[in-house]
Amino acid sequence: MKKIVLAIICFTFPSLIYAQNLSLQNVVNKTYSETNAKVFNNNLCYIIPWEIAFIDTVQKSSDPIMIEFFKSSSSFKKYLDIKVNAFVLKIKVQSVKFNRMELTMSVSKANAQNYSDNIKLYTFVDERKVLLKYNTKSEKWVFDKVIEVLSDFNSTKN
C-alpha cells in the first residue's frame, strides 16, 4: 500500500507543484549544522530524479554546503571516479498538505569502487525529516524546521 501511495505522489507531484520552486541548496543549508557540513566536506551530490521537476538548482558559493547537481547516475559516476568518495543527498516527499510538505532527507557516502551499473552501495551517514512551508507570494517552498533526526539506521537515543 505504501508503494502505491508513494507512486501516486511521485506521478502526480509535478502537476501539483507546477510553477512552484524549491531552492534545494537553501533548504539543505538550513537543515544541517556546521558540524554536519564539515562531515559532508561542505559538499553534497544530488542526482535529479526525473519525477521531481521543481528543484531549483541554483548554487550559492557563500553557503557552507554546496550542492553538485547531476542529471543522471552515469554523470555522477564520472564525477565519483575522479573524486573517489562523495556524499550523496536523497530526498523522499513524504506528504503534501495545503502549504506544508514533509521531506525525508538522507545523506550517504558513495565510493567509486562500490558504485557501478551492477551495484550502488552507499554507507549511511544521516537521515532526517524536514518540514517545508509554501510561500504564496514568492511561489517557493521554504524551510520551516527539522521535524526529527531519524535513528533508523545507526544511532544512539538519549
Binding site: 558540524t35 552501495l121 549511511f124 545507526n154
Partner: protein, 218 residues
C-alpha cells in the same frame, strides 16, 4: 594508538592513556591530547564488554546494544548496559540516569554497536551500516572521554555481501537486513566526541592488540 610510548607526565599517578593518532610526532600527539582526543587504556572488563557487544549483535539479528562507563567521586568505575536493544538504535538515557542516581555521575563514555546490515532503496541502490558515528550519535550528550562505535567494514568488503542478503533486501526495500555472514567483514572501532565525529577509526583486532601492549607495558 600503535602501542608506542609517546609521552610521560609525572603526576604521581600510574594511569595509562592512549592517544587517538597513529603519529608519534610530539606536536601531533600534544595537539590530540589538547583536543581531548585521548582515552584511558580500557580495563579487561571494558574489553570484555566490547566483545560482548559484537556477540550480542551477531546472535540477535544485529540489534544494537551498548553500555556506559561512569565514575563516582571516589574514582570508582561502574558499567551500565544501555536500555532497549532496538534495530537501528540504542537508548542511552535511562542507563545514564541510573548511574547518576547511584552517584556515578561522571560519564566517561558511551559505547555501542552498529550492525552489519544493508537496506535496498528500491531503485538499485543499497545502504550499509558502518562503524562511523551517525549525526544522532555525535549530537548526543557530551562525555569526558571520546565515545566509541563498534561496527563492521561492509563498504570495504562489498564483494563479500551474500547475494541471498541482497535478494532479501530487494524484496523488502527500506528495511534493515542483517547480513548473514558478519564474520566476513573486518570489525572496526571508531571514536567520536560531541560535535566531533570520527576522530579515528581503526581495525578492532589491532585496537585489542594495542590495549594488551599498553596494559603490559611499564
Amino acid at each position: 594508538m600503535d602501542g608506542v610510548k609517546v609521552r610521560h607526565d609525572e603526576d604521581g599517578k600510574d594511569d595509562k592513556m592512549m592517544v587517538l593518532t597513529s603519529s608519534t610526532n610530539s606536536k601531533v600527539v600534544n595537539k590530540q591530547i589538547g583536543k581531548g582526543n585521548d582515552i584511558s587504556n580500557p580495563t579487561a572488563m571494558e574489553m570484555s564488554g566490547y566483545d560482548q557487544i559484537y556477540t550480542n549483535m551477531e546472535s540477535n539479528g544485529m540489534k544494537e546494544n551498548g553500555f556506559i562507563v561512569a565514575n563516582n567521586n571516589a574514582g570508582e568505575q561502574k558499567i551500565e548496559k544501555s536500555g532497549d536493544d532496538l534495530i537501528g538504535s540504542v537508548r542511552q538515557g535511562p542507563a545514564a540516569l541510573k548511574l547518576g542516581r547511584a552517584g556515578y555521575d561522571k560519564i566517561q563514555y558511551h559505547v555501542h554497536g552498529h550492525g552489519a546490515v544493508i537496506t535496498a532503496d528500491g531503485s538499485g541502490g543499497y545502504t550499509s551500516g558502518s562503524a562511523s558515528a551517525s549525526a544522532a550519535d555525535y549530537n548526543a550528550v557530551a562525555t569526558i572521554q571520546p565515545s566509541r562505535v563498534l561496527g563492521y567494514d561492509v563498504q570495504g568488503n562489498s564483494s563479500k555481501i551474500d547475494f541471498r542478503d541482497i535478494a532479501k533486501a530487494d524484496a523488502n526495500p527500506g528495511q534493515r537486513i542483517a547480513l548473514s555472514n558478519p564474520s566476513s567483514f573486518a570489525k572496526q572501532i571508531s571514536f567520536y566526541r560531541n560535535g566531533k565525529p570520527d576522530i579515528m577509526t581503526v581495525d578492532y583486532n589491532k585496537f585489542k592488540a594495542t590495549v594488551n601492549a599498553v596494559t603490559n607495558s611499564n
